[in-house]
Amino acid sequence: MGKNLTMLQAITEAMDQMLGHDDRVMIMGEDIGVNGGVFRSTEGLYEKYGKDRVIDTPLAESGIIGSAIGLALNGMLPIVEIQFLAFIYPGFEQLVSHAARMRYRTRGQFGVPLLIRTPYGAGIRGPELHSESVETFFAHTPGLKVVAPSNPYDAKGLLISALEDPDPVIFLEPTKLYRAFKEEVPDEMYRIPIGQAKVVQEGSDLTIYAWGAMLREALNAAKKIEAEKGWKCEVVDLRTLYPLDRDTIVQSIKKTGRALIVHEAHKTAGLGAEIISIINDEALIYLKAPIKRVTGFDVPVPPFTIEDHYLPTVDRVKQGIVETLSF
C-alpha cells in the first residue's frame, strides 16, 4: 500500500512515523513548530506530538546544533532543521569541530546520532543565500555523512536510515523538488541504505552522474538526446554524497566508457572533481573520452533574475553529452 506524495510530504511522513515509533526522536529548529516549517515540512507534527517533541528553538544555529549534540550524547535522537543550507554557517563549527569528531576523539565512547535536515539548492527564486549548494564543505569533513535525495520515495527511505544512523548525517533536501512532482510512496517505514547510489536509467553510450535537483535535468537531457540522436545515456543518482558509492560509479563507467557529471554546486573543488578522480583511479583504461562536468559557475549564486543562467540547464547538459560523445 502507498500513496502519491510530494517529496515534502514523504519527508513529513518519515518524521511523523519516526516520532511515533521512538520516544527519543525530537525535532528542533527555527519556525518548525507552530508554523510547521517555512516550507511546511513539519506541518501537523507540533499539533500531534506537542511542543516538547517538535521544538521552536531560538534563532541560533550554533545553539541548535550544539545543544542537539548534547542531546544526542545523552540518549536522544534529535532531528535538526536548519532553515536554509547557507544559514548553517553559524553552526558550522559545531558540526565540523564536534559532531563530526566526537566519536573519534572519545575512541568510540560517545557517538552523536544527529540528523540535520536542510533545504538546499537554487531554482526557487529565493533571496541571497537561500540557494546555495555547498555540499563539498560537509563531504570534506571526516565523521559526517552527506545525503541528497532526488525523489519522494528515496527521501523517505533515506531519511529513516539517516535518523537511525549512529553517526551525524547532513540531509540535503533539494528545495526545487519539494513540490515538483508526486510519486508512489509506501506507507510502511522502509529504509534505503546510506552509501548506495542508484542507476535510475540504463544506457550504453555514456553515464551521467547527478544528484538532487540536477537529476531531473540529467534525465530530461538524456531523453531528448535519445530522441534526437539515438544515444542511450545511463543515469546514476548518487543519493549519498559522502561517503560515495564507488562501486556503482565505477561499474557504470566500465560499461559506457564515457561520463558527464552534472551538479549545481560551483565547479572548483565540487564533488564532480572527486568523481573524476575515482574514475581515474579505478577505470582509466575504460575511458573513451575525457570526463566532462556541467556545473554551476564559480561565482556566488546570483540574484534570481539571472539564477537560471547559473544553473546547469537541459541544453547545457545536452551540449556536454554531444561533446563527450563526439570526442
Binding site: 531560538p58 541560533a60 545553539g63 545543544s67 548534547g70 559545531q94 569541530s97 573519534y104
Partner: protein, 362 residues
C-alpha cells in the same frame, strides 16, 4: 574587576578569608572530612600541575596548560557534583576532571598526545577537553536538556574562562539554557586573562555574573580562591537545577600564576612578579585553607609532609603507567571516524599499513 585589584569587591561571595577566618555561616554543611578532602585534593592537583610543567620542560609531555592558582575553583566545583553528572572541561580543567573521576595517567596521556588520553572511566561522563573556546557550553545545555526530558537527576557542568564569554556560543548556551530551564551549571573561572588580553579589554561589562540577568537565569559571583564559597555555590546551583529552577552562571574570581600554556610567556603582557606575588601572598587557595585547618587543629606539618610524599608517589606511579602505555599505532587514526568503517577508510588504512610494513617499522 582588575585581576590584581586589592579592593574589597562588594558583590562577591566569600566564606573563608585569606587569613583563614570563616566569615559566613556554613551551617555544618562542610564537615571536617570534607574539608580535609578539599585540602588534600588541592594539594594533589598542585603537585600534579607543577610536575606536569616540569615534564613539559624535560620533553616528556607536549605543550601543557597549567592551572596553579585555580585549585579551589576546580576542586570546589567538582566535589559538589555527583558521580553521574556530566562534565565539559576545557584544556585547563583537568584538575576538575581528575576530582570528578578521570584517572591521572589518562591526563598525562592526553598531554602526551595519545588518543587514549580522551577516554573517561567506564560509566563516567567526562567529555574530552574542549579546544575551541566556548563550544562545549552548548553541549552541556543539550545533555542537561536530555536529563530533564528523561527525568534523570543529573546536572551538566561546563567549564570556561573569561575569554570564552565573548564568544557567540556563550550567549547561545545561556539563552537556550534559560529558555528550556536546563539543569546546566556554567562555571567560569575568571582568571583575569584570555592568553594575553585582560578582562577589561575583553568586555565592557564589569562582571561576568551580571550577564545572567540578561537571560533571566541565576548568577553568582564568588571568590574562586575560596574553596568553601565555591563548593557552597556549586552545591546550591546543583540543588536549584535538580529542583527544576534551571541553570546557574557562576563567575569564580581567580588567577593563574603561570603562563597560559607552557608555550606562552606571560612577562610580555602582565607584570608577572607583581601580580603573581600579590595573588600568591594574599589569596592563595591552598594557603588559606591550610591556615584555617591549622588553627582548628585539623592539619599539621607532619600530615602535610606525609600527604605530599603520598601524592608524589601516586603521581609518579601514574606517570610510569602513562610512559609505559602502548604507543598509538599509526593505524589507529582510522578507527572510530564512524561507527562502521567505510570503504575509503578501509583502503586508506591498508595503504598506510603497507607503507609501514615496507618501512619495516610500525
Amino acid at each position: 574587576m582588575k585581576a590584581y585589584s586589592n579592593e574589597v569587591e562588594p558583590e562577591i561571595f566569600r566564606v573563608l578569608t585569606p587569613d583563614g577566618e570563616i566569615i559566613e555561616t556554613i551551617d555544618g554543611k562542610i564537615d571536617k572530612s570534607l574539608m580535609l578532602k578539599m585540602y588534600e585534593s588541592m594539594l594533589l592537583l598542585r603537585t600534579f600541575d607543577r610536575k606536569s610543567v616540569n615534564l613539559q620542560r624535560q620533553g616528556r609531555i607536549g605543550t601543557y596548560a597549567p592551572f596553579e592558582g585555580q585549585e579551589a575553583s576546580q576542586v570546589g566545583s567538582a566535589l559538589a557534583l555527583s558521580a553521574g553528572d556530566w562534565m565539559f572541561p576545557t584544556y585547563r580543567d583537568h584538575g576538575a576532571a581528575i576530582i570528578h573521576g578521570q584517572e591521572l595517567y589518562r591526563v598525562f596521556l592526553y598531554w602526551m598526545a595519545h588518543f587514549d588520553g580522551s577516554i573517561c572511566p567506564e560509566g563516567k561522563r567526562i567529555l574530552p577537553p574542549s579546544v575551541p573556546i566556548a563550544t562545549q557550553m552548548v553541549h552541556a545545555v543539550g545533555t542537561a536538556w536530555a536529563s530533564k526530558i528523561r527525568g534523570e537527576k543529573n546536572v551538566s557542568i561546563a567549564y570556561f574562562g573569561d575569554g570564552a564569554t565573548s564568544e557567540g556560543d556563550f550567549h547561545e548556551a545561556l539563552n537556550f539554557a534559560g529558555v528550556y530551564k536546563t539543569p546546566t551549571i556554567f562555571f567560569c573561572q575568571n582568571n583575569g586573562y584570555a592568553i594575553s588580553v585582560p578582562f577589561e579589554k575583553q568586555s565592557a561589562s564589569k562582571t561576568i555574573s551580571q550577564r545572567a540577568a540578561a537571560y533571566d537565569i541565576h548568577g553568582v559571583r564568588v571568590d574562586g580562591n575560596d574553596i568553601f564559597a565555591v563548593w557552597l555555590t556549586v552545591k546550591q546551583a546543583v540543588e536549584r537545577a535538580l529542583n527544576g529552577e534551571g541553570p546557574t552562571l557562576i563567575e569564580a574570581i581567580t588567577f593563574r600564576y603561570g603562563a597560559h600554556t607552557t608555550a606562552d610567556n606571560p612577562n610580555i603582557y602582565r607584570d608577572q612578579d607583581e601580580i603573581s606575588t600579590f595573588w600568591r601572598e594574599n589569596r592563595d587557595p591552598i594557603t588559606r585553607l591550610r591556615k584555617y585547618l591549622n588553627k582548628e587543629g585539623h592539619w599539621n606539618e607532619e600530615q602535610e609532609e606525609l600527604a605530599l610524599k603520598k601524592f608524589n608517589e601516586l603521581i609518579d606511579a601514574h606517570l610510569q603507567k602513562a610512559e609505559g602505555y602502548p604507543k598509538s599505532d599509526p593505524l589507529e587514526m582510522f578507527n572510530h571516524v564512524y561507527a562502521e568503517e567505510s570503504w575509503h577508510l578501509k583502503e586508506q588504512k591498508q595503504e598506510l599499513n603497507q607503507i609501514l610494513r615496507k618501512g619495516g617499522k610500525k
